[in-house]
Amino acid sequence: MNRRPNHLAGAGSLVWLLLVGFPLYVMIGATLRTRSDYARRGPLAFPEGFTLDNYTGALSTGFGQYFLNTVIVTACVVGLVVLLVPPLAYAIVRSRSRFASSAFRLFLLGLAIPAQAVIVPMFYLISEAGLYDNLLGVVLPTAAFCLPISALILSGAMRDIGGELYEAMAMDGASPRRMFFQLVLPLSKGGLSTVVVFSALQAWNGFLFPLVLTQSDSTKLITLGLYDFQTEHGIDIPGLLAAVVLSMVPVLLVYLFARRALVQGLMGVGGK
């Protein structure tokens, strides 16, 4: 079509690149400098001597523990979602029962529920259940709020499985259960990995539920650790930003990994 390069769009995209990159540059630069250097020469200066003190400092103020807590919560949320969603999506796509289609409508409705709206009764429920200040009390609502979008993603992936495959399995006398394990699950792997990445991100980045449902240091999650660090040592900007970088690293690693898998998937489709 348009073989003429679009210079205006190119310029615009570079402006946006600067806007995205600028705070990231300031952040990385700040964490590699001492506090006094940062205060003296300002955020825009290029680091002169490199130091990792900010990172070790952040880790020694408890971020190791918060990191571990967040890993536990993330693993549990992903585990719950992976356990609950595939059977649900299978029923949504294949079941002829009225219940399955109303369930799907319920989850579609659930897409629009903001966590802020339910936080007060959630606090009540979790306290009543004796789960206040317990990591499980964070896991349960976080997982519940991952369900709607996960159900949508996975049922979308399962819908792409051709009817003739089910038919072929039925000829072999397969039960719905066997079809689920031998046909549906293997063929919806792509959708399932999206669901895993999505719910892991939600759990890792979650803030409101941990803010309201936990209070002690032993149950603190990393986002809450950042918030507390900011309110307590807001002046130590290099230290604070080092903590921010630490909280981002796993997410960026996963992104790198997931993107590569994506590219390989593309090449696989083209090559075979």
């Binding site: 059977p87 802020q116 997982a143």
Partner: protein
């Protein structure tokens, strides 16, 4: 002219297909773009999806294909009812009670409601929420449409840049807010060094400055998501339309306004609804960047709710405010759907569900 008419016809004919693509674009949001669909080899059959295929099965061969019963859907549904729908119903009940976080809630009738609506901070917070939401939509929509259409191109450099643009979305709102708070810090941040641009350097000192920061940080973080929605939609626009327009001598700008933009209608609606709901429930950015200040100048409704319930231990009032939020978000979404005529396309969406 003739090209224009054809465009409309084709648009209509393709609407079902596009609605599906739309739903995909949205549901795959977490996954970013996926590879070519594996069933791409059978375009016609693939469209009707599992349904058509299964119907053939029933009518064709004698084999009965076993289907899962409703039991398969029960665990997830129960879990969701318990941890999402129950609290949503309870929020209405709690708004008529007085509860300090200890003991049991006590019924007090409309007391919370009269108190909350007599509070000028609350009334002001509603306007502030609407303003922040409006700013979000007004800034992010044009940006994300342009970026999305740009990123939909197949050029290699666009793919690389898109991967970078996506980064803000991966970060937690907390990390993003803490980062920008540090970058814009009045004493140690960038504004204190670039006084020719920022004056006294204290962006958080005035209402306009603080609201500007909130709008800017939200834009920085959430534009990638809306870009992705539009990118998916722009990729689904048939190339024939552009080829036809090119033959008619339409330039790039006219192509954008007469083909791309109308074809992005569904993704515009989807992203607007998400922006509205997201804007009305903005909370973390306010908590971390401005603490509702200066004074109560950026105390928007979600933050007001948090203050009432979890700082003032007035959970009844907090529940009342939460209910206002739910109703407002639902109403605005409904209005957007109505005004845009999205609900008339429901029948086509049925095929999806």
């Amino acid at each position: 002219m003739s090209a224009h008419i054809e465009t409309q016809k084709q648009t209509r004919a393709r609407s079902q297909e596009r609605t599906r693509a739309q739903a995909r674009a949205l549901t795959r949001a977490g996954a970013k773009e996926r590879g070519p669909r594996t069933e791409g080899g059978r375009p016609g059959a693939g469209r009707s999806g599992g349904r058509g295929a299964s119907r053939r099965t029933r009518e064709g061969h004698g084999t009965r294909v076993g289907r899962p019963g409703f039991l398969w859907a029960i665990p997830a549904t129960l879990f969701f009812l318990l941890f999402a729908i129950t609290p949503l119903i309870m929020v209405a009940g709690l708004s008529f009670t007085s509860w300090s976080g200890l003991g049991s809630p006590r019924f007090v009738g409309l007391d919370n409601w009269t108190r909350v609506f007599a509070d000028p901070v609350m009334i002001n917070s509603v306007w502030l929420s609407l303003l922040v939401t409006f700013l979000g939509v007004a800034i992010q929509t044009p940006l994300s449409v342009l970026l999305g259409v740009w990123a939909a191109g197949q050029q290699r450099n666009r793919a690389v840049l898109s991967a970078i643009y996506f980064i803000p979305l991966l970060l937690s709102t907390t990390a993003v807010s803490v980062l920008w708070r540090a970058v814009l810090d009045p004493n140690f941040g960038v504004p204190s060094r670039v006084t020719w641009l920022f004056g006294d350097g204290n962006l958080f000192g005035s209402q306009a400055g603080a609201i500007g920061v909130l709008a800017f940080v939200s834009t920085w973080q959430f534009t990638p998501f809306h870009t992705l929605i539009h990118q998916g939609a722009a990729r689904a626009v048939p190339r024939v339309l552009y080829e036809a327009a090119e033959i008619d001598g339409a330039g790039r700008v006219r192509q954008f306004f007469h083909i791309t933009l109308p074809q992005l209608r569904n993704s515009l609606i989807t992203s607007t609804i998400l922006m509205v709901v997201g804007g009305l429930t903005t909370f973390e950015t306010v908590l971390i960047l401005t603490q509702g200040g200066p004074g109560t100048d950026t105390t928007i409704t979600a933050y007001y709710m948090y203050q009432k319930a979890f700082k003032g231990f007035d959970f009844g009032a907090g529940a009342a405010v939460a209910l206002v939020l739910v109703v407002a978000a639902t109403l605005v979404s409904l209005i957007v759907v109505r005004v845009s005529g999205y609900d008339r396309m429901r029948s086509e969406m049925e095929g999806v569900s």
